[in-house]
């Protein structure tokens, strides 16, 4: 069964450093999402792509976060500079539409620890 791939699985960095996370969605899925999940809470949407275009980035802290999906396939989420409060799990999901319904499939996530 096809899965969403993410790397790295774990990342430790110091504050003020730059970090980047990568996501490869399920083949053929046009929609890609990045979520942030703080420990003990549910995931919150950061950004949504439809192919290579951003559909919603209203919750993305644009002063330090950026996301791209240049060829409409894999995607990169970057944080520069990282802050202590960015420590969280970063989840990527992809979806496709069947019979008018979409189901999001999630990757294993990247757990970020900022020291």
């Amino acid at each position: 069964e096809a899965e969403v791939a993410q790397s790295p699985r774990y990342k430790i960095t110091e504050k003020s450093q730059a970090v980047a996370f990568w996501c490869d969605p399920i083949s053929g899925h046009a929609t890609l999402y990045w979520y942030r999940q703080i420990l003990g809470q549910g995931p919150e949407l950061l950004v949504q792509f439809q192919d290579e275009s951003v559909v919603d980035d209203s919750q993305l802290p644009k002063d330090r976060f950026s996301a791209e999906r240049l060829k409409g396939v894999d995607s990169t989420l970057k944080i520069q500079p990282a802050e202590l409060g960015d420590s969280a799990m970063y989840l990527c999901a992809s979806s496709t539409r069947l019979a008018g319904q979409e189901t999001q499939y999630f990757g294993p996530g990247t757990r970020l620890l900022v020291l």
């Binding site: 929609t31 003990g40 809470q41 549910g42 539409r97 319904q101 979409e102 189901t103 999001q104 999630f106």
Partner: protein, 114 residues
């Protein structure tokens, strides 16, 4: 605006006994509702979804959920817990019928005792 409340942050059951994870939602429209499970260090896995068809939805691993509009609830149940069911469970609502804009509840951690 849509929101989800999972009424219990932790639930503990004995193996072989029934599981009940409670979820209430708030939505301005006819929502789509989902339950996802997250095992330690794993991604979120879809258990089941309700999209305005049958109100009793059967999912994977013996789980099911019943949509009750009058109570704005979508509780998750399983007749008999297994040790492998120990995980974090998230109730999720989507207002746009297409399942795009997901709002997650805070999660319920299910513990299963031998």
């Amino acid at each position: 605006a849509q929101s989800v409340t999972q009424l219990d942050s932790h639930v503990s059951v004995s193996e072989g006994t029934p599981v009940l994870l409670r979820c209430n939602y708030s939505s301005s429209y006819s929502p789509s509702l989902f339950w996802y499970v997250q095992h330690p260090n794993k991604g979120l896995q879809l258990l089941l979804k309700y999209t305005s068809a049958a109100t009793l939805v059967k999912g994977i691993n013996g789980f099911e959920a019943e949509f009750k509009k009058s109570e704005t609830s979508f509780h998750l149940t399983k007749p008999s817990a297994h040790m492998s069911d120990a995980a974090e469970y998230f109730c999720v609502v989507s207002e746009d019928n297409a399942g795009n804009m997901l709002t997650f509840g805070g999660g319920t951690r299910l513990m299963v005792k031998p």
